[in-house]
Symmetry: C2
Subunit: 257 residues, 2 copies
DNA sequence: CATGAACCCTCACGTGGCGTGAGAGGCAAG
DNA sequence: CTTGCCTCTCACGCCACGTGAGGGTTCATG
């Protein structure tokens, strides 16, 4: 039985509270393939496999689709502690939401036993809480239906507060350097500006979606045509939006003539 | 638009945070059929429908299959406040479990950042917690595979602590009256004993599964053949188990000769 | 009053995450 | 050697919707 070294499907299933079929399924789709197999083809789960299974189950409980879980766990950029922190953050959010729902139910009971019924609308609104900040609605109208947008949605959904902090810091750093280049009088078509544009593109690739040079060019146009984006740049330094657009175009030309 | 009176699918979907298709689906399977329809066949949801939708969404979030939700909500025995209390209890349990998981993740982070890794087994066990009290294992071996058993499992799963209190009180009352009849010298085949046996059967129907007279007869046999059940009855009054068996058999004969 | 945009309807097929056998082989104990 | 409990690989089934297709409705415009 090789007790202690590795476990059979049955043992793992009992330990984790899932069925054998589930483990087979995770193997089939490549989400959790046991490290070893016996000569007879029996699955043998190592300690590493168990750790991964725990991660899988946690993200599953959080409602992530299995395919996405695979992406999250296979990201080589993220180590285990980061993974745990992310889980902790997501769990906390879920817990908070659950407490809101509980509170709403308590209010409903209270109101009901006092004879006053809440309006059905009030009761339903607890569930309808996603608050996409109507900014998203705008984005959807403009970019909705594109692959890039879908990809972005999926990835953003799994970001924790910590991720957002890092993301924002990175974005602000790039913005500041662009502003410096602009006020320093460096040409938008120069190497420095183009390098910054490239960093901007990579930043998008890293955090949101695969940003090709063509897409990046469109983004540049958007920065001067959409008053919301223009404001975001020009607020820092008037005229910056147009400068950024030029730099992006130059950088795109440089890479794909 | 008749604003204020009733809502269209789109309005309800936005309010509740579900898709239109979901509402269509709930209508198809008869889980939530809108109270009215316009001349053109448009669905119109009344306030009562919204209340029901809220209940549906809550039980759904708790992981109940839709079919079961219909059963729970259509039970005429249960009013709205009871429904809310039940939801509150189930939500609280879920919240507690969530906090356990969070605590486990915190421990994992702590241990990890101190360089000491927890064993994968320890981490997995948080998920494998269902503790069916090995009593269930026994029951399964004896009754497993029967329809009655499956039905019982499903219904019991949705009982709250309050339900259990009521259930137990009812069962104890019947037991006490049977004991009184027994010690009072009333014959097991008499009307009084048979009536009590009938109450016992209805009690099972009400709380666990559809208990036919045949099944009830088997149950009576079980009370004398299974030492665990025998003990439960004879502990109160020695000889009671046999008396109950006789009463059940007599009652069954009376109804299905 | 017609024209368009935003809704709504009913099929009907597709999908994700497994459940549930069927049929066959592996392996430790008696 | 056989009995009992694993395990394996197909392969079909199910639930709770997603996702169009194809077509009617309603309402604010030109």
């Amino acid at each position: 039985m090789l007790e202690g070294m590795s476990l059979s499907v049955g043992q793992v299933s009992r330990l984790a509270g899932v069925t054998v079929r589930t483990l087979h399924h995770y193997d089939e789709i490549g989400l959790l393939c046991p490290g070893e197999r016996t000569a007879a083809g029996y699955r043998r789960y190592t300690d590493d496999d168990l750790v991964r299974l725990q991660q899988v189950l946690l993200y599953r409980e959080l409602g992530f689709p299995l395919e996405e879980i695979a992406v999250i766990l296979d990201d080589p950029q993220v180590d285990e502690v980061t993974q745990l922190r992310r889980q902790h953050e997501l769990l906390s959010r879920k817990s908070e939401r659950l407490r809101e729902v509980i509170a709403a139910v308590e209010r409903a009971i209270e109101a009901r036993s006092l004879g006053i019924a809440l309006t059905p609308r009030e009761r339903l609104e607890v569930f309808g809480r996603f608050r996409p900040e109507d900014h998203e609605a705008e984005v959807e109208r403009r970019w909705g239906g594109t692959d890039a947008y879908a990809e972005s949605r999926r990835r953003v959904a799994s970001y924790t507060k910590g991720d957002w902090v890092e993301l924002k810091a990175e974005a602000e750093a790039i913005g500041a350097e662009l502003a410096a280049a602009f006020t320093g009088g460096l040409p938008a078509g120069g190497v420095r500006a183009m390098d910054l544009a490239e960093r901007h593109r990579l930043h998008i690739c890293r955090w949101f979606y695969t940003c090709t040079y063509d897409i990046h060019r469109c983004l540049g146009e958007l920065y001067v045509s959409d008053p919301r984006f223009t404001a975001a740049y020009d607020e820092v330094t008037p005229g910056l939006a147009g400068y950024v657009r030029e730099a992006i175009a130059a950088n795109a030309d440089r890479h794909s003539p």
